[in-house]
Each structure stands twice: as C-alpha cells, then as structure tokens.
Symmetry: none
Subunit: 410 residues, 2 copies
C-alpha cells in the first residue's frame, strides 16, 4: 500500500514553519508497513489544492492531506475538495453543536469564522476531532482513500490515532527496523565495508545511510508480508554487526551523547569536560539527554587562556612553549578539570575553529582532544576542515567518541 | 520568479529526518523575492527523480534539488540527471583532486565510492563545495534553471550562499529588505502591536514573522521595480521601529548571540557564564560567532551541585535553604563566575529542564537567571514550559537578553 502526504500552507513554503507533521505522518505510516511515496507542500491556493489532490489520488492508494481546514480566509481545503468532488459545503449540525460546546466551555463567543469549520463537503465523511474545532474529512477518489486533517499538530496526531489508524492499519503486512549509530568512518568507506550486503537488498529490504556530523545512522528495514524476507533481514543485521563492528557505537537509533551516557551510567562512572573551541557544545549535547545528571558533573568552558590557567591550573610555560592548541595543554586541561570536579573521567578539547587563528603548523581545523581517567590517557590530534561550525561539531562528537573509547578499553 | 524545491531521500519520507533544508531554502528564496511554489519530497528512486525534475522544471523558473549526491548506492541524483539530459557521467579532474585533498587533509583513504562524487553529468556545471566532498550541479532544462545540492545541511547552505545566490539574486527588480530581531514578546502580541501597519502591505510590500526560540525575525521586504513602493517601505520600517521599539534587539538579521556580542565588543566589556540546566548552551551560542574571544572569556558548567560549591563558591547553606533553583543560588553563581574569571559581566542560569525534578513550588520549566556587573544585578524567574529542549533554548536566549539589558541600562 502506497501513501502520499499533501501539506497545505504558505508558511511551509516560506520557511516560517518546518513541516514536522509530514515527518510524523511518514514515521507513523512507515511503522504500519505503508510505503510513503511522496510528501508535497503547496500554498493556500484553491485551484492548486484541487489539482494536487487529483494528481496524488491517481498515483497512491492512500492520501493524507494536512492544513487548510481552519477558520481563516486562507483555509481553502474544504472548497478545493468540493470543486474536485463536485459537491457542496453543508453545515453539519453534529459538528456545529460540538464546536459551540467547545467555545462555551472556554467562555468564548462563537463567531462566523468558527462556524465555517462545521461546513462539510457533503460527499465527505467527518472524523471526530477531540482536540480542536475542525473535524477531519474522509473521502474516496477512484481507488484512493483520502483523509484531510487540520494542520495543528496536536489535532492532526489525535485524529490520526483515534480515527484513521483503525481504518488503514493493514492486517497482512509487517515491518522490521534496526538502526545503528556508526562513528569514526566515512560514509563511503562504510559502504565499501558493507558492499557484499547489497546482494541481500531489494524485494522488501532496504539499507539507508543517514550521515551527519555526529556519525552515520545506518538503517536496515524490512517491509512486507509477515513472513516475507525475515531471514534476509536477519542476515543483513548480522552482516552489519560483523563488518562494521569496530565503528558501531550503538545498535539503536540514538545520538553519540545518548550512547556514551548510557555506557557511563551502566559502568557507574562520572564525566567532566574542559571546552575551548567547542565553547560548551559537549556539555550541551550531554545534557540534552534527560537524566544526564546521573553521570555528567559539568566542567569548565576554558575559552580564554586566562581561564585555562586560573580555573584549570594549566602551566603558563605549557601555553607559551607549546601553545594553547597542543597535546600538552589538551592533557593538562583534562587532568585539571578531572581533579577539580572529582569526576572519574574527563575530556578536553582545544583547537582552532577558524576562520581566524590558523598558522602553517596549526591550520584552521587543528584540534587536540584528550580523554583521561585515573589510570589512562588518550590524546589525539585531528584536522576537522575549514568551516567553524563543522570543526566545532565534529570536535564535540569526537570528544564523546574518545570518552567511549576510554571506557570500553578500561 | 517562481521556484520549486525537490528534496530527495527515503529518510525524509519515513520521518527519520525532518526536512529543515527545504525550510531553510524556502526562507532564503523568499527573502530574495522569489516565490516558492512547492516543496516536494521523494525517495531514492532513479526513474522517479528524473520524472519529478522534468515535471517541476516545466512549471518553475527555478528548481532547487537537494540530496542524492553522496557516495552510496542510494545516491542516484547524478544518474537521474544524465537520464533526463541524455548526457554521461565523466570524472571531473578538478573535483577529483579537491576530494583527494580533502581526504588527505583528514588522513582518510580515498576509495571508489568517494571518487563517484567527482563523476559529473557532462551537461552540468559544477558548483564549488567548500564544506564537503560532493560538488553542487547546475543545468538548465527548457526555461528552468536547476541546481542540485548535497543533502548535508552545512554543505547545502554553504554552496547556496557561495555559488547560487550570486547567480539568482534578481537583477531586473530591486529589493529592499530590513530584518529585525525581536525578543520578549509573543508573535500574536507583536502582530497586534503592528496591526495598523497592515494597511501599508501588499503591492510589492510584505511583512514576514519568523518566530523561533531565539526571538522573532521580523522581515519587511519591498520587491519590485526600482522606484516602486519605496515610500511605503520607509513608512513600514519606521512604523516597526516606533511600535516595537522596546522589543527590538537588533535591526539586522542576526542571532541573539551576535547582537549581544556586537554590543559587548562596542563597549569593550568581557562576559563569563555559569550554566546549570543549559549545560553549556549559552557558551556554545556565544562562541558560534567568529571573534567571540574578544569579549567571551568562558565560564563554568555547574551541572552538579558539587561544582556549584567547589568551582564557584556557592554556599552549602544557600543550596540547602533555598535549593539549587533559586534566586540566591542564581546570583551566587553569577557573582562566583565573575570573580573567578575576572570578567566585567557574568550571567548564570539554574532551572528545572525536566522531564524529572519538578515540584509543586518549582514545576518543570522553572528557571532563575541572574546577570551581574560590578555595580548591578538583574535576577528574574521564568516559567518556560514543559519540554526539555524548549526550556533550555529559551533559558539560554533569555540569559543573553538579560546580559544585553544589563549593558544597555548601565
């Protein structure tokens, strides 16, 4: 079963709103084993809405329409559906009473605009909206089942869960998904390592590479009848685990900070950070994770050299002799913050994020990272490119990678 | 001039990645006075990619394609373009050498797949990618100018800024644009304040609200013939400056961190931070700005209470009596970090980001922020919602807002 998603609203086209509704629907539909063929965003234009519904209905078994059901003059989905189905808008008394009740409950005056939301194309079925005013709409066009939902995320999600899933959840199809977080290898090199697995792909099995500065998310997916391709899927997952073992950070869909945090929590270890060129990013990434206070103590943003000395006890001689971006200072920062915070482990980053500050010996992108425990020190030099944002994000994630290495190797 | 955006990648359809590239492009194109007609997301399917490029090129003056230029088997945009233009993939020696250099710089092995990224449809022009391996592609189809960009956001944005804007920025028509950064007022309240200005809009004049957790970017734009609507545009800008004066942080398109940094630099002041629930985000935002070392010294991520005491000298009695999330501790953190770093100003944040840790008196979202100078203290309590990411980002930006207030009022 294939589905298209049609999102309606000028705000999506001018970048004012990111289309998280479509992503959410895509995830939901995929997990139901339904193949999402396309996500289309168009503006609030009656003729265009009609045309796109017609076009997408002719190419999909299922069509999810979001937006344009609200009370304002630029909400035109109802009218476009009438144009397409050759039907009329009629007041739906049940919906009208429900809307009146909602407004009464909140002590609001019902105005003409709100009443519009009870006007239903008379060729459509309504879908109860327990989260807002505008009901969802259901209709069929040729062989396509179409649903129109309000663009307000809570209303869209609520109607989808309450009304649509029971109608569309396929009884005969199933899906398996396994996502790996892979770090420290380029996408292309990983693809080489996994080349032999391509023979397993196709016919219900896919392997997707989702590269980012925080590693590659590698997603193996099986999608089809309950008994279809399950053996091949198992082979695929085992193959990935065997061929990419040394770069697999996690076998779930999580970030570096989540994976490292889980590891620290398992081992009962605490971590502190000393951040120069990353300026706090490592701490920010670690504390994005709820419960990170179980293992993350905090640390020092040692951006200025004076702070490296005064807060972390880095020797002026090290700074003068080797420079702030050096192996010696990276290690001194890590040991300094570990001692002062009393953490089990510490990681420090010092580098040249650019655009300024580079030299022939230490060009922009030069970063030293040190991870220390009571018994062990790992310190490495990296060249992370020329773009400030990329250098910083790579450095922060590499720092998390070194912490993991330290723990795994202890 | 109308533009369509075609985003390619299964990860967008299954909801694993939200299409922020398209929103960013939509914002950029709109601000150039180009009308975005549609945003289309499709999967990694060669024939479909070819078909959609052809369809969209026939209905738009401009086509932005993103994704499918990477090294792996599911990157098929190059092949689809060859199918469509009836041309061949050829190794581009310049691009190949650049990619070799990139890999060499990072000490990585160049493999066949990476070399693929130097294979260019010979009917296409290449666009320099200074942020990654795959170059952008440019070609024309009928009356449509088409550009293909990598899906990695930093690469897409970089190539768009460096190579595409100079080519597409409209020359026949002239554009006046004034973007304000507005902070501390809700979008709807701002719209009410500015209501009387709506009479000026239309016929070449637009006013766009781009709300985010770091404030509202309010963009006034005039787009048309050189002499058209210039008077109205001036009235619009003056009207905004008059009606929203107290919430205007900046009259340029910049972030809170950029605006505050510029102010600190002008005044020759230095800043340090003490971050609890934000975990380093304020430092990260400040150091995103090149040259921030001129005014930002660094600070302490005082996530654990032990660090509040040991690194910043917060009294145990204050922590016990008032709790870590309190006016007293916020001020003590700010004064502690200011003294220990020797900065002119300091700002501290302590709060409950959630999901855990809330209580009836201090529910999730409770945040205390203190900004101090030698002579002045500002401390405020905020309720910032229930979602961890939102609480933290709002808190970090509010902290920057308090620093600005401190400087402006000194």
């Amino acid at each position: 079963m294939t589905c298209s998603i049609l999102s309606i609203g000028d705000e999506l086209l001018i970048g004012q709103v990111v289309n998280t509704n479509a992503s959410w629907l895509g995830d939901q539909l995929t997990s139901l084993g339904i193949t999402v063929a396309a996500i289309i965003n168009i503006g609030d234009e009656r003729a265009l809405i009609r045309r796109e519904i017609e076009r997408l209905a002719s190419t999909s078994d299922l069509l999810m329409i979001s937006g344009g059901l609200g009370p304002t003059h630029d909400d035109l989905t109802r009218e476009a559906i009438c144009d397409l189905l050759g039907c009329q808008l009629r007041i739906d008394e049940t919906q009208l009473r429900r809307i009146e009740l909602r407004f009464a409950e909140r002590g609001l005056q019902l105005n003409e605009r709100s009443i519009r939301q009870a006007e239903i194309p008379d060729a459509c079925r309504t879908l109860a909206n327990n989260y807002g005013s505008a009901p969802g709409l259901a209709f069929t066009l040729g062989g396509c089942r179409a649903y129109a939902l309000p663009g307000v995320p809570t209303e869209l999600k609520g109607i989808f869960d309450d009304e649509i899933i029971p109608e569309i959840a396929p009884k005969t199809s199933s899906i398996d998904r396994q996502t790996f977080l892979i770090f420290g290898i380029a996408e292309s090199a990983l693809a080489d390592r996994l080349q032999e697995l391509n023979a397993l792909l196709g016919d219900g099995l896919t392997l997707a590479y989702l590269p980012g500065l925080g590693g590659i998310r590698l997603r193996a997916m099986r999608n089809g009848d309950v008994n279809h391709a399950q053996e091949r899927f198992k082979k695929l997952v085992l193959g990935i685990e065997a061929l990419a073992a040394q770069w697999i950070i996690s076998n779930r869909d999580e970030t570096m900070a989540e994976a490292v945090g889980r590891l620290l929590k398992q081992r009962g270890l605490t971590l502190s950070v000393a951040e120069s060129c990353t300026g706090g990013m490592i701490g920010m990434l670690l504390t994005e994770v709820p419960g990170s206070s179980d293992y993350f103590l905090g640390g020092v943003i040692s951006y200025a050299n004076s702070l490296k000395q005064e807060l972390l006890g880095v020797a002026e001689s090290d700074l003068q002799q080797h420079g702030a971006v050096s192996q010696q200072v990276a290690v001194a920062l890590a040991e300094g913050v570990r001692q002062r915070t009393g953490s089990d482990l510490a990681v420090a980053v010092t580098g040249i994020a650019g655009p300024g500050g580079g030299s022939p010996e230490k060009p922009v992108g030069t970063v030293w990272i040190a991870a220390v425990s009571g018994t062990q020190t790992i310190v490495e030099r990296f060249q992370l490119g020329r773009e400030r944002g990329i250098v910083r994000t790579r450095a922060a994630n590499l720092a998390l990678g070194l912490v993991r290495k330290l723990v795994v190797e202890e």
